[in-house]
Symmetry: C2
Subunit: 387 residues, 2 copies
């Protein structure tokens, strides 16, 4: 039911595609030493790959995202893809100019191989038999997809939050295949506080009796635990200021206290709504695996304790963006990345965007973010085509 | 097993006392309109009440505190009371000079009437039949105790966090009975973010099947939910910086990842430890009631939307203290109280103490906090005795 005008600025109706690889006996070796295969990755593409394949941009998503970054799956869809504000004709990732690919991740539950997939060795869902995957493993799997699409070098790899971690990892794992990196609201490693919030979310799931040690695929899902985990997450995605402005201490009904444990304040109702929504579309085991992958991500540790070492061999230019009110991935963590890159004399553009909207700013319309991405990409595209 | 030296600076061995009042038919009317009685309050006293009863200080505790603020219950106690750093001979609340009373709260589970107490009307534990209590109700109950102790006017009412809310409320509810207020790391109302964290904690409890709608006193306690709630709480009590310094991303064992969902990082193990400790000593229903009381506290709302109106009739002097890294009760919330008091030309001393230790700073040894309290009390004591 989208109006013509809306679809005019949109990539329109799109379809998720699937690529399967690492078919046994050629399984993919994971960082943990375990093997995984076959692997299916869900992905979407928008725009057209040019003849010399020099306009491809890989978009990577955060914890709860999917391959569906832009456009609509059907005319009846109420909402477009998760980064539709930024992907489309004339938008920051201008699909009239660039070929945009959004890849899902292994470990997820949105069409790619994860704990809810059937383990070909047993004919049953993997559940906790699914191996622990890392950000590096996610990136290695995506590299297979990019090979399959016949793209030698990506004009850019871009993402926010965990997507930004993947983007950074891409430039480290495959230095010759990444012209530029756009890493938004991210870090070289999650803080102790971030790990703590993740652990509480995981415990909420694992303490739900319906979780049943991960074996719930033919029974009731641990929705109580998963929605609780999502509620905790949502507190960390918003700034205190935004919560204050959005909800303050407003009551849900009338002007007087009910003096009960029912939902009383609007902020409680908001969190419950977010939690309940989430369990409709997300797998509890995937939540465990993905948060653990974020916890494990540590570029400093990977390179002997000095973050500068992580970027010694990279060949990319970087756009690093943080948001002033993001307390989950605060600006100092972005600055740490910028410093490490500059110590290696890499090309870095860094901007801290003033915003009251916390970590979630990267998902919301923001003119500055739009301009920063568009200008950076324009320069990178020109650079490539002057060569 | 305390050394002589330790006991020398300590109030020594103390005993919790109990006062029962509001015996039916004289039950206490609560803000909600419900009635509660009989009511028992647990309390401890340290030092000696002087002849003209002008040296009494009432100490009020935070969410998980108790009447046991100082000294030891037995020689074998591993730890003293929760504010032993500040209460004792020669300490900030100098028990060689002042008569210090610490009162527990209604709704709690440390000797005072709360949801785990037996309802005399049924002979069973109240559980969720216990009425919702507010900070005002807690203070009204404490007023009965202060009457019983024969104290007309308290030299000071002091507390941190929820204890600070009670202290502020004392000066508003009983303006002629409070010479001065020491309100530390507190607010005139909890923020939307604070309510959100409380609600997630409550949900963790209420979604534990052992909670059983509050009826678990003769069965297994909802320890999973309660410890999860406590883990969430502990994240908010520490600053990100302290967590970083205390745990960083250090692993629990060895130097390599286990690639499992077991406790991997030290910060996870710390939270689990805190959660497991808590369930040994706290009642899950009390956690619900007390967090709700904090949520409901709103001095601005109580006085028609203008915080200045809350303090029109107070007759106390105030010491307001915040901590720079406290993000649960951040400094601007203390400044809001200070502004409202100054608009009423009240005597206010305000200090923001620089600290990396977050909200929990008020429970830890801190020289500045000690000096601020000691000096303020000295002046108030002199003021009273010059009159």
């Amino acid at each position: 039911m989208k109006s013509e005008i809306t679809l005019d600025k949109s990539v329109g109706i799109v379809q998720t595609q699937y690529y399967t690889f690492a078919v046994p006996p050629d399984e993919m070796l994971l960082v943990s030493g375990e093997k995984l295969g076959p692997i299916t990755l869900a992905y979407e593409t928008y725009g057209t790959l040019n003849q010399n394949k020099s306009n491809a941009i890989l978009i990577l998503h955060a914890l709860s995202g999917s391959a569906h970054a832009a456009g609509y799956h059907t005319e009846a869809d109420a909402y477009p893809g998760w980064w539709d504000h930024y992907i489309g004709p004339g938008k920051a990732f201008d699909t009239s100019k660039y070929f945009v690919i959004c890849s899902n991740i292994i470990g997820g539950c949105s069409g790619s191989t994860g704990p809810s997939s059937v383990n070909p060795h047993t004919g049953e869902e993997y559940a906790l038999d699914f191996p622990i995957v890392t950000i590096q493993d996610m990136v290695n799997a995506q590299r297979h997809l990019i090979d399959y699409l016949g793209i030698e070098k990506l004009l850019a790899v871009a993402g926010g939050s965990m997507g930004g971690m993947q983007a950074l990892q891409w430039s480290i794992s495959y230095p010759d295949r990444v012209q530029s990196v756009i890493a938004i609201a991210t870090a070289a490693s999650l803080s102790a506080q971030g790990i703590a919030f993740h652990e509480v979310g995981r415990q909420a799931i694992m303490r739900d009796p319906n979780w049943n040690n991960g074996n719930y695929y033919h029974a009731t899902s641990p929705s109580n635990g998963l929605s609780l985990a999502r509620m905790i997450g949502h507190i960390t995605y918003l700034s205190e200021k935004l919560m204050h402005e959005k909800f303050g201490r407003r009551l849900q009904q009338a002007d007087i206290f009910k003096f009960r444990f029912d939902l009383e304040f609007e902020v409680e109702s908001y969190l419950h709504h977010k939690g309940n929504d989430f369990v409709q579309r997300f797998d509890a085991n995937s939540y465990l695996y993905i948060t653990r992958a974020i916890d494990y991500f540590d570029l400093k540790n990977d390179s002997g304790g000095d973050l500068a070492n992580a970027f010694v061999h990279v060949n990319s230019d970087y756009l690093i963006i943080s948001f002033s009110s993001d307390w989950l991935y605060p600006t100092p963590q972005s600055r740490e990345i910028v410093r490490a890159l500059r110590m290696n004399s890499k090309n870095v553009v860094f901007t801290e965007i003033q915003s009251d909207r916390g970590h979630d700013t990267f998902l919301l319309p923001n003119e500055q973010l739009e301009h920063n991405i568009a200008n950076f990409l324009k320069r990178e595209f020109e650079k490539v085509h002057k060569k």
